[in-house]
Amino acid sequence: MAASQDTIDEVRSFDLENYKYGFVTDIESEKAPKGLNEDIVRFISDKKNEPQWMLDWRLKAFERWHEMVEPKWAKVHYPAIDFQDAYYYAAPKTDEDRPDSLDEVDPELLKTYEKLGIPLKEQELLAGVKNIAVDVVFDSVSVITTFKETLAESGVIFCPMSEAVQKYPELVQKYLGSVVPVTDNFYATLNSAVFSDGSFVYLPEGVRCPMELSTYFRINEAETGQFERTLIIADKGSYVSYLEGCTAPMRDENQLHAAVVELIVMDDAEIKYSTVQNWYPGDVNGKGGIYNFVTKRGDCRGRNSKISWTQVETGSAITWKYPSCILRGENSVGEFYSIAITNNYQQADTGTKMIHLGKNTRSRIVSKGISAGHAQNTYRGLVTMHPKAENARNHTQCDSLLIGDKCGAHTVPYIESRNPSAIIEHEATTSKLSEEQLFYCRQRGLSQEEAIALLVNGFCRDVLQKLPMEFAVEAQKLVSISLEGSVG
């Protein structure tokens, strides 16, 4: 109840022309030369002082990438990307070494995160209600990770990927690329060659992570791509809830973001992965905005393992993203809860893949797509039951909501069953936000904006409820803000 009031307050105070996170931080940065070639790959690896095996891995990916072509099957349209016309590495030019504590972090950077509403000071976090460890990735590098010591006491490793390569090479070598192979797809391969930073999480056997883990990604530099890499390994019987958030400044040119996230879940373990994606979506005429091409996949390797993806996608000019689950272990469970909102000229092609390999595996998909303005919103999903997936089950629910008469909603479900005992259910609805509903709300005293916020939040409720509490409120606000000015 309080949250919807917050939503309304937020909508009231929101300035339509102003993407809240659109500011640029004036920080001196160090960049690699523009363009992409083998030297750049070596440069990035060298900057991070990587061991030879890591460099070799990158070079192999880069070689392969040359032979690949961009995927064109998604329902998104954009001018050809010139991959030579971008920077592949940018780092705040602070001290050569990574700061050990917040005192050593550039104050400008701290201010940036203050503006973003992300608390980094551990004592503030402890004093408040939030109990979240945060890893912060600014352009190409991780700048700080909080609560490392507290986490270490419970045996949880939470650190930047670049640090994991140095400190835990055996874990990284064993698992990196084991869910999303280097050759998986054009963007994943590109990421493998030039990935800069991201988060690494390892949960030892039987450990329930004592706090929420979170990574905030920020693109600050112009003409710079961000290629983060996240790897989470949940050993037997462990549990973690992880959240990522992302923002970027308002810029007229498009910027590329191509991330890879891999999850590995062993027997009886669970990962809950939530995303609030709010990259700059471009202006009302479709100028600027982030191209968001992301590969996210989780592997339920163990028996009774579980992966739950929850995403609230409101930003980016183009979204191409299919967080998926490989349900290998017996009785493993995959879930995908998604809200995708497109307004103005945004385009989203998003969904999931549930690949049932093991016996008694179960998956559930709930997708809520909202389209306003001139936007195009596509749900694309695959549910596949392999011959050994005895008694596997899937339930899919796809709901689309249209606001106005110039937008589009599309649903493209692929279903493959090669096991007669499998049960697959698919439900889909498409509805339009009705003038009658709006009038009804307004007759009761709500403004047009408040009414839309209330109706859309109601439409998304099943998914919003899946988010960790702290972020549900934030997400509700975001839902309303993203649809500002979408009617009349």
Partner: protein, 251 residues
Amino acid sequence: MLEIKDLHVEVDGKEILKGLSLSVKPGEVHAIMGPNGSGKSTLSYVLAGREGYDITSGSVIFEGHDMTQLKPEERAAKGVFLAFQYPLEIPGVTTMTFLRTALNAQQKARGESELDAPSFLRLIREKARLLNISDDMLKRSLNTGFSGGEKKRNEILQMMLFEPKLAILDETDSGLDIDAMKIVAEGVNALRTPQRAMLVITHYQRLLDYIVPDVVHVLANGRIAKSGDKNLALELERTGYDAFVSDAVLP
């Protein structure tokens, strides 16, 4: 309280109200009766400020001020309430959340302080009890999957909560069985005060056995064809609307 003078209203270029005049004082209950298509619902939507109902001439004065330029939510905050003939379903928003959000919005617009959550809860439970509305119903999505009777009771609950100055009930009796109608009528009667005015729009006389009006108007062909006391409704029940419809088409 409400002065409507020579009101002409078009919907999609077609004139529906053709010179309607009506004067309602505080404390009065006026019944508006008329055949289908006479403009009853149009009148209720125009008063509530729905888009697409264009006033081509005439005036609507509410408490001494021109109301025609106000947005629907501004009218609501000033105390105009419309109980819908077909209340809308709002999936995913509980009745409780909807009512609190709406009440807060109205109070904010009037510069009043908002009720805190426990006070609101107490208030809504007390009102709901009078209408036989369960806590369970308050927790369900607004009107979603409600029966016809539940929807109408919910409209009256909202009226009780918002305590409007002018309440317009658009065919509140339609789709109600006799027991539900009694509950609704009791709720409405409980709200009759010397300060509050009501427009009860209905096709049938039977609701007026329970909500006894001060004045009865016959609306036919876009204007008030006849006005009288409660006995006019009984007369209509016997004679039907034919006389008014045929009268009205004559020049």
